[in-house]
Structure formats: C-alpha cells, structure tokens
C-alpha cells in the first residue's frame, strides 16, 4: 500500500513530521532554557527564613513571604526603585531630544563623512563600560557631577543614545521620498508634513528606541556603580551588593524578580513594535 502513495506526498509528509518534531523539541528546550531559571528564582524568593532549602530536598519544605518582607523592610530597595525609575524617564527624554536632529540628518541626508558618524554613534556600545565609567568619574568629579542625580542622568543618556539614534535614523530612512514629494506638490506645509508623514511613520521606531533606551538605563551598571554609589543606589547596584561576599540567595532572588518582572511585562506589551526588529535593522550594519 505504502508504495502506491506518490513520492512527493511521502516527502511532504516526512517533512511535515520533521517540522512537527523539531517544533516540539524546541518548545521543550525553550521551557527548560527560559522557564527553569525563572522558576528557580521564584522558588528561592519564597523560601522561609526558618526552614532552609538545602541539598537533598527537591522542593522547599515551607514557603513564605519572609524574604520579600525582609528585603522591603531592611534594605534600600524602595529608594533604589525610586532612583532607577526616576533616572530612566529623564534619560529617555534627554536622549530623544538629543538624537532627533542627528537621526533626521543621518537618516535622510547625504553628506561627506556620514559613514564615519554612523560608527561614532556606536562608540558607547563599543567602548568597554568600565573604562568609560572610571575616566568619566574623574571628569565628573572635576565638574562636580559625580555622586549627583544629574550626573547619573547624563551617564545613562550617553549609554542610551546609540540605540535611540540608530533606531530613529533607520525609521527616518524608510520613509519613501515619493510620499514627501507628493505632499509637497499638493502644497503641504512643514507642519503638515511633520504631523501627517514624519510623525506617524517614525512613531513605531521612536517607541522601539525609547524602549531600548529605557531598559538600557534600568540595567546600566558600570557607570552607576562608579559615579553614583554610595550616594545613589539603583536596582542593579543593590543586586550586585547582594551577590558579592555576603551572598544571600533568597534576598537576591527577590531583588532579581523586582528588577526583571517590569521588564518582561514591558517586552510583552511592546512585542508589536519590536516585530519589525528595529534593533537588528539598526545594529546589523556597522
């Protein structure tokens, strides 16, 4: 019977089977790869202080809110949260304002040296963070920006700028010149052009850029650690202090979750805007 089924049908079946198998395997790997680390952190964050979770036990004996209570009561996490989430909006706004004219020029105009400037934009990513942090800390000390809120905003802006400029200039670049020409022919003023062409077409890229700048600021460690501590603690620096010599797994789990959950929620909210893969479009070329 089997031989009566034409070859191409059998091949198609075999291929379908292969794809199904691959997908199933992949889902399994994904659950272990992403799910397991997060699950472990969640479990650890609920391990009660009185009943430890140690080697032979597969699961914690008693679950409780102890670590959460401890971290929010006795550590600076609340202040760190406030600091982190107040620096980020300023850094995003500032990097947006700074990058707007630059992105427009890089995206839509031609001039000598454009390639060079496109690489210069990436320098904050290329330069190793600790080198930038240590030398900037000396400069910041000289101009009295060290250990200040403004100093941290400036530092975070610098780290967010490459993503913002690259993503924005890519979106400016994708606007077809025909549309602009047509609007001009029909007598559109600069204001109308901005409102009806530039803004709607750049908006998704702008949102993507803001998200990248925002997450960059939330997770920035090197500069914050050197310029901000001990006056300012952000969530990453507080987590680092939990991971060093006095490593307390339960407390670190709480901080890790506090730091991670808003970001993941943000990811699922903005999935739509990341669909176009702005990051790859903007960083894929050097």
């Amino acid at each position: 019977m089997e031989a009566l089924v034409p070859l191409h049908v059998r091949q198609a079946r075999r291929r379908k089977g292969f794809i199904l198998l691959a997908t199933g395997f992949f889902i399994l790997v994904q659950i272990v790869w992403i799910g397991l680390p997060i699950l472990m952190a969640v479990l650890w964050s609920f391990v009660s202080a009185k009943h430890s979770w140690s080697y032979p036990d597969l699961f914690p004996k008693v679950l409780g809110l102890d670590p959460w209570r401890y971290v929010f009561k006795y550590t600076n996490i609340k202040r760190a949260l406030v600091t982190s989430y107040s620096i980020a909006p300023f850094a995003v706004a500032l990097s947006f304002l700074l990058s707007l004219p630059t992105s427009y020029v890089l995206g839509r105009k031609n001039f000598p040296g454009k390639k060079f400037f496109n690489i210069v934009v990436l320098l904050p990513i290329i330069m190793p963070g600790m080198v930038v942090a240590l030398s900037l800390s000396r400069v910041f000390q000289a101009v009295r920006l060290s250990q200040t809120f403004v100093g941290l905003v400036v530092a975070h802006t610098l780290m967010g700028l490459p993503y913002m400029i690259r993503v924005l200039s890519t979106s400016f670049q994708t606007i077809p010149q025909d549309v602009i020409d047509a609007a001009e022919n029909l007598g559109a003023s600069t204001f109308v052009k901005i409102r009806d062409i530039y803004l709607p077409m750049v908006l998704p890229g702008l949102l993507a850029g803001m998200i990248f700048a925002f997450t960059t600021s939330i997770e920035e460690f090197n500069l914050t650690f050197v310029i901000g501590t001990p006056t300012f603690e952000t969530i990453p620096t507080i987590l680092y202090s939990f991971m060093g010599y006095n490593f307390i797994r339960t407390n670190a789990s709480v901080v890790a979750l506090v730091m991670m959950v808003p970001n993941i929620v943000l990811l699922f909210l903005v999935e739509r805007f990341l669909k176009a893969d702005y990051l790859s479009a903007s960083l894929g070329k050097m």
């Binding site: 994904q30 290329i126 090197n222 790859s280």
Partner: protein, 283 residues
C-alpha cells in the same frame, strides 16, 4: 554655494547626538591615555613618565588580559553557534512560533546581573543541573561550574543573556536571503546540511560577523558577570582595572589597563571591518 550652506547645517544638526557621544568618548580616551603616561594627575604631580607601563610586564596583568580574551572569543563563538540554528528555525513562520519568538526574547530584557543570578542558581554546586546529571548517572560527583577556574560559568551566562540579541541580528540577515536560492540548491540535490552550510552561512556572513564582534566586546569588557560567576583568579581585565583604581588608588596603572582594553576593542573592530570587506566585497 547653497550646497555648502546646507552641508554646514547638516553638520550642525549632528552636534546634539554625535557631538555629545564624541565629546564624552573622546574625553574618556584622552584622559585614559594621558593618565597612563602620568599626566592629568589629580593627586600628586603630573609629569610625563613611562613607569606606569611596567604593569604590562606583570604576570597578573597578562593573566587578566588572557582571561578576558578567552571569554570574548568563547562567548562570541558560543552564542553564534547556538543562535544560528535557532535563527534558521525561526526563518519560516509557523504555528506557535510567534509565542516562542517572544518567549526567547525574554533574556534580552533581563539585566545582565539578573541573568547571572538566574544561571548561578542552576549551575551552583547542588544546583539543578548537577542534581539532574547525577540523577541520570552521567556524573558521580557534582561538577564545579560556578567560579570554576576556567570560566565556563561566565561563558554560559553570556550565551544565555545574549542569545536573543544575536538572534535578532542573525534573523535580519537570514531574512534577506531569497527563497529562490534555497529552492535552486534543493533542486540541484543539496541536503539540509549542505543548504545550511553552503547557502545560509555564507549569505548571512555579515550578520554573523557583526554579532560576533559585538559579543566579543561585551564579554571582553565584562565586569559584573565576572564578579558574580567568574573564577577566583585571574580577575577579568575590567575587574582588575576597577580594583586597581578604587581599592589600591593606583589611577595611573588603572589607566594603562584601560588603554589596553580600548586598544584591544578598537583593534577587533578594525579587524572586523577588514574581514567584512573581504567577505562581503564593497558594500
């Protein structure tokens, strides 16, 4: 005449973005280089000297540089090796892949330190990985993967954290490959492996190179992940630089280490751009 005017305007509009970056990065480079020669010293006297460069002759410095180079190379190769098949898998859309697609992007939004912590939970001495391996009778005693002398723990964390980042870049270059080319190869009798190695890899080479270069620089300059999961000795070069400056207050020697890091990063970027020209021709 008009052209000159508009060009000048364009350069002016570059100032807020590129200017700010150039200002800060140039300051960084100048301050670091000058200090490594004993100039710009805030405490003590400033005079040109080469004596701080003696640190490069120290065994500790050499060990740190070698360790960081090793991490950069292994992390960049490892991430691309893992990410490339995944990118191929995602190239064709299909049922359930959208959900998987957002699931796999999660580490991109998990800060590096948190990623380090998450993985530390798994690979610690009595962590899940060791217990499972023992349960399956694959190993007799738990493996030391955290703070191991070689640094495999750090490599693993780098791969986990940066997989989605590399995946995005690779997906973009794979998306640019026409199906016709693949179909033609298939028609001519190329198997799955031949298509992957002879069509996808060469055509996605620019994306592969970019992701390797970015990964190398990230892993080479790493500070926090080393601090959490790295070997006890040697420290990563960034870690040594930070300790030299802030704990031992040897800012000049730290600057020398900084120069080493900058020069290595720039050299790698330069080598990449030459390689990209060689591979991709003139673009």
């Amino acid at each position: 005449m008009k052209r000159d005017g508009t060009t000048r305007l364009h350069y002016l509009m570059l100032v807020p973005g590129v200017g700010v970056i150039l200002f800060f990065i140039a300051t960084t480079v100048i301050v670091t280089v000058a200090r490594s020669f004993g100039l710009f010293s805030i405490t003590g006297t400033s005079a040109f000297t080469l004596k701080h460069w003696a640190v490069i002759a120290m065994k500790e410095t050499r060990d740190s540089v070698l360790y960081s180079l090793k991490m950069g190379v292994l992390a960049s190769i490892g991430t691309v090796l893992v990410a490339f098949p995944v990118a191929l898998f995602f190239r064709k859309g299909g049922s359930g892949k959208r959900m998987l697609g957002s699931l796999i992007k999660i580490p991109l939004f998990v800060p590096a330190l948190v990623a380090a912590f998450l993985i530390v939970n798994l690979i610690s001495y009595h962590g899940v990985v060791n217990e499972v391996l023992i349960g399956l009778h694959l190993i007799k005693a738990p493996l030391r993967m955290l703070n191991d002398p070689f640094g495999w723990g750090v490599v693993f964390i780098q791969v986990w954290k940066n997989l989605p980042f590399v995946l995005l870049i690779l997906s973009a270059s794979l998306a640019g490959i026409h199906d016709d080319v693949v179909d033609a190869a298939r028609n001519l009798g190329a198997g799955r492996w031949a298509v992957a190695l002879r069509i996808y890899v060469p055509l996605a080479m620019s994306g592969i190179l970019v992701s390797m270069i970015l990964m190398f620089i990230k892993a080479f300059g790493d500070f926090p992940i080393y601090g959490v999961a790295g070997p006890i000795y040697p420290p990563s070069i960034s870690y040594r630089m930070h300790a030299t400056a802030t704990i031992f207050q040897q800012w000049d020697q730290a600057a020398v280490l900084g120069v080493i890091i900058i020069v290595t990063a720039l050299f790698v970027v330069w080598a990449y751009s030459r390689l990209a020209e060689f591979v991709g021709g003139t673009e």
